[in-house]
């Protein structure tokens, strides 16, 4: 591994701008850190270069720990957005700067300089001053300068940001060619998705300080794990689909449960990603070649060279529900974006207003169990207060998830889709019992008037499979810019094997989260029992979001809610809770049969 970044955290004014980021980059890889401005990508790069001190974590370059080394001893080459050339020096002096401070002999310096200038195609520019060069040429000089001391890694901080489109593409090719030729491990920071696609071996997408997802451009485009990545890397239609025993339902289409992506989706409802180019438009009352899923009418068309952008308004009976909340008008008709190739346009020309059938070629289901939020309370003011609570607002905003308010829930209605939200207070325990009886699997309890939690703490408890709990935790972690930690408990008089077991649980949880979700979190061992730990967390000055597993059998549940966790529900309790309920054996068979019964 050329670059190892482990749990690197940078806190700025109390907010983690880089939050437990772990990346391993093999030698020779071109890694692109992609993210919107303010996502922490530049901070991470500068931390790696040694220009910004970090608050937690370790960094190694070629297996050499550089965490506490000053920038000048790290041996990195850094290229800046605004070139940062020394303007009072010639091109030659700029490139030789790193060699001069290392007291390299003049002849050797000249040889190296000429080699580098040839590499960036600027031979003969030695005696020019930066002000006499164009922006693109200046950035070439900056690249040559950064390579002069044969750095261990090359770091590029938005290097093409200040250049115009044509020069940008040209320089991009140069940088890629130089990187390939030298086999130099490289990290490039950008907010430009196209740039990332054209350069990267692997992309890491950052948002709110977290490394959301890592993968090859194709992986991230075809099988994203989050709504953010799905929409940040190209256009996407996001819908909610129901998962039953027979498969996944999107409008009139049923997709087999075994298909990639859908198998990974957790819960009974999934967020579906449909790329605009994966939708087929067929004439009304004909059958599309791909799987038919809805009908609609063309709402607008836009010319895009050899392609055509179409927006189709779906028939209101299509039964398709968008996964993204429309802030302006929740009752607006559902529309879908379609991108048509020249061949498709030739086969079926469409006009605005034309009725069409829609087919879908490919669907991807996000693995998040948080497909939507369901506020369940009869009290309208309480429902509004919940919707406006900082925690739910933050989650729904950054997830762009929909919130539904259910004033009354019919006794036979199933609540296993998404997350059920209820206020923490009088009657919360009774409400939780009722919700679990109605097969609610994920319950978020928010204390009235609570602030945004300052950290997340997770305790598995044993009733919920760890993979299920971590799927939930990873979804929450990605959308709350706070520190997250996994906690194992051990009795004060624990035996040797119990201690080993507690440690193994921590290591396994972290490894599984890193392997399965590409995320990292802190681990903590607590000596004591559950009630003691819970009370200690509650005594901290700022509130903590507790993620806990709960048993589903009534007897075990009573023991837990009225026993160890009782203090969390007492009057004045102020910790928000995210409860994951284990699926009991009877429940899960019950669920399959019920699902089968729904759609005979």
């Amino acid at each position: 591994m050329s670059i190892r970044i482990e749990q690197v955290t940078k806190i700025y004014q109390g907010v983690p701008v880089v939050n437990d980021v772990t990346i391993e980059i093999p030698t020779g890889e071109f890694f692109v850190l992609l993210g919107p401005s303010g996502s922490g990508k530049s901070t991470l790069l500068r931390a790696l270069a040694g220009l910004t001190p970090i608050d937690h974590g370790r960094m190694a370059l070629h297996e050499r720990d550089v965490t506490h080394l000053p920038a000048r001893e790290r041996g990195v080459g850094l290229v800046f957005q605004h070139y940062a050339l020394f303007r009072h020096m010639t091109v030659a002096d700029n490139i030789e700067f790193a060699l001069r401070v290392r007291r390299v002999k003049a002849a050797e310096r000249r040889r190296r300089r000429q080699e580098l200038l040839r590499l960036v195609a600027l031979e003969g520019y030695d005696e020019r001053y930066p002000a006499q060069l164009s922006g693109g040429q200046q950035q070439r000089v900056a690249v040559a300068r950064a390579l002069a001391h044969e750095p261990a890694v090359l770091l590029l901080d938005e290097p093409f940001g200040a250049l115009d489109a044509k020069i940008r593409v040209e320089l991009r090719d140069t940088v890629r060619a130089v990187q390939r030729r030298l086999g130099m491990t490289t990290i490039l920071v950008t907010h430009d998705q196209e740039e990332a696609f054209s350069l990267a071996d692997r992309i890491g997408v950052m948002q709110m300080g977290r490394l959301l997802e890592t993968g090859s451009p194709e992986q991230l485009y075809r099988t994203p794990a989050t709504r953010f990545v799905a929409t940040f890397l190209g256009a996407a239609n996001l819908f909610l689909g129901d998962i039953s025993g027979r498969g996944l339902q999107l409008g009139s289409a049923t997709i087999a449960p075994g298909r990639a992506g859908i198998a990974a989706a957790a819960g009974s409802q999934a967020v579906l990603v449909v790329r605009p180019e994966d939708i087929e438009i067929a004439a009304a009352d004909t059958t599309p070649r791909s799987r038919h899923f809805a009908r609609g009418s063309v709402a607008s068309l836009a010319f895009a060279g050899h392609q055509q952008h179409a927006v189709v308004r779906l028939d209101h009976r299509s039964g398709i529900e968008p996964a993204v909340a429309d802030a302006h008008d929740p009752d607006a008709a559902v529309t879908i974006q379609v991108l048509r190739s020249a061949t498709e346009q030739a086969q079926l020309p469409v006009q605005v207003g034309m009725a069409v059938e829609l087919g879908v070629r490919r669907v991807h289901a996000l693995p998040t169990p948080i497909s939507s939020f369901h506020v369940v309370t009869a009290d309208a003011t309480a429902a509004r207060a919940l919707q406006e609570s900082p925690l739910l607002l933050q989650l729904t905003r950054s997830m762009q998830a929909r919130v539904r308010v259910h004033a009354a829930v019919a006794p036979e209605e199933r609540l296993d889709a998404g997350v059920v939200v209820l206020p923490l207070g009088d009657g919360a325990v009774a409400a939780i019992f009722a919700l679990i009886a109605q097969s609610a699997r994920r319950i978020l309890c928010i204390p009235p008037g609570s602030a945004l939690p300052g950290r997340i703490r997770v305790h598995a408890g044993g009733e919920v499979p760890r993979s299920e709990l971590l799927a939930l935790v990873s979804s929450v972690m990605r959308h709350l810019p706070v520190e997250a930690g996994f906690v194992s408990l051990q009795r004060p008089a624990a035996s040797r094997s119990e201690v080993v077991e507690a440690h193994r649980e921590l290591l396994d949880a972290r490894a599984e989260l890193r392997g399965g979700h590409g995320l990292d979190l802190r681990t903590e061992g607590y000596v004591g029992d559950l009630s003691g730990w819970v009370q200690e967390i509650a005594a901290l000055p700022d509130p903590t979001l507790l993620v806990l597993g709960l048993p589903s059998t009534p007897a075990a549940l009573t023991g837990r809610l009225h026993g160890e966790l009782a203090s969390l529900f007492e009057a004045g309790a102020r910790l928000p809770l995210l409860l994951a309920v284990g699926a009991g054996a009877t429940r899960s068979s019950d669920r399959v049969s019920a699902a089968a019964g729904e759609r005979p």
């Binding site: 500068r46 270069a49 040694g50 220009l51 000053p70 920038a71 000048r72 001893e73 790290r74 990195v76 080459g77 850094l78 800046f80 605004h82 940062a84 050339l85 020394f86 303007r87 009072h88 020096m89 700067f97 790193a98 401070v101 290392r102 020019r128 001053y129 930066p130 002000a131 006499q132 900056a142 300068r145 950064a146 002069a148 001391h149």
Partner: protein
């Protein structure tokens, strides 16, 4: 439009659109240029040429006699020497102060920043009196320095102190904006390339600040050369030791030796002008070197 053009080539040249004829946002070049010339003539050139005229009434031998008098030569030496010393001190301390004020955020920074302008606002005579009382052998600071054998007030050293006081804001105020605009990434780049802090300062920061530092110091120097008010109170004005040129001119005027006074004044004027010209040429060379075209 009945201009006669001698050759066809001239026609081509004459018809080429003039490059300076870009549309200006504010109209009226003729009016403003006329006003500028008239104003500068009235306020700057007229009094100066009067001095020249007055001085030219005297024959050259008389000029030499006046200028080469030991007292006058000594005054030139004191004036130039102390102005140079003060400018050098201000270049160093001004850079330090500008650095602290732009690079760090600390309580009281704005107050300190406002304090820098005080020498601008204060009547310089007040500053001279204050410095004289402070550095007099029985003053607060003078009392401490006297046992060490250091005399400041009524000594050329006092002149340097007064001139350093007067010239400080020039250096600080010219450096501040340049330092504020200095791209921090230059330092970061040098750091990742392996430079130590000293190297970064010497090879990256200082060269970038040099033009502004030269301008600021030159302004401080020329201000010091013409300073009168603060110096006469602290200098002691001992002929041949701590007498400055402006005082010599004043003395001649008080003795009604107007021609002599003007001769010394004109010499001073020419000297200042030559130095300013030198500084401007240095400035031009510095800009050329960085390839910045203006």
């Amino acid at each position: 439009m009945s201009r006669v053009l001698p050759t066809p080539l001239a026609t081509v040249v004459a018809w080429r659109p003039r490059r300076n004829r870009q549309r200006q946002i504010l109209p009226g070049f003729g009016l403003t240029a006329g006003y500028t010339v008239a104003y500068l003539g009235l306020i700057v050139l007229l009094p100066l040429s009067a001095a020249f005229l007055r001085a030219s009434e005297l024959p050259p031998e008389e000029w030499l006699r006046i200028l080469l008098a030991p007292r006058v030569l000594a005054a030139f030496r004191v004036s130039l020497g102390s102005a140079l010393a003060a400018a050098a001190i201000n270049a160093v301390t001004g850079l330090l102060i500008a650095w602290v004020l732009t690079r760090y955020r600390f309580p009281g920074r704005r107050l300190l920043d406002a304090l820098v302008d005080l020498p601008f606002a204060l009547p310089t005579a007040v500053a001279g009196i204050a410095l004289a009382t402070l550095y007099a052998p029985n003053g607060w600071l003078g009392r401490l320095l006297a046992p060490l054998g250091v005399q400041v007030a009524f000594h050329p050293l006092g002149i340097v102190v007064a001139l350093a006081f007067v010239g400080l804001p020039f250096v600080v105020r010219t450096l501040q904006p340049v330092l504020g605009d200095l791209d921090r990434d230059l330092e970061h780049a040098a750091e990742t390339l392996g430079a130590t802090r000293l190297t970064i300062f010497r090879r990256v920061i200082l060269p970038a600040l040099l033009p502004a530092l030269v301008t600021g110091s030159a302004l401080a120097f020329s201000r010091a050369l013409g300073e009168y008010g603060s110096v006469i109170f602290i200098a002691g004005n001992i002929p041949l030791v701590s007498e400055i040129v402006p005082l010599v001119i004043m003395t001649r005027l008080e003795q009604f030796q107007y021609p002599a006074a003007t001769v010394i004044a004109v010499a001073m004027l020419l000297l200042s002008f030559a130095m300013m010209l030198g500084v401007n040429l240095l400035q031009l060379w510095l800009q050329r070197r960085t390839g910045v075209r203006r």
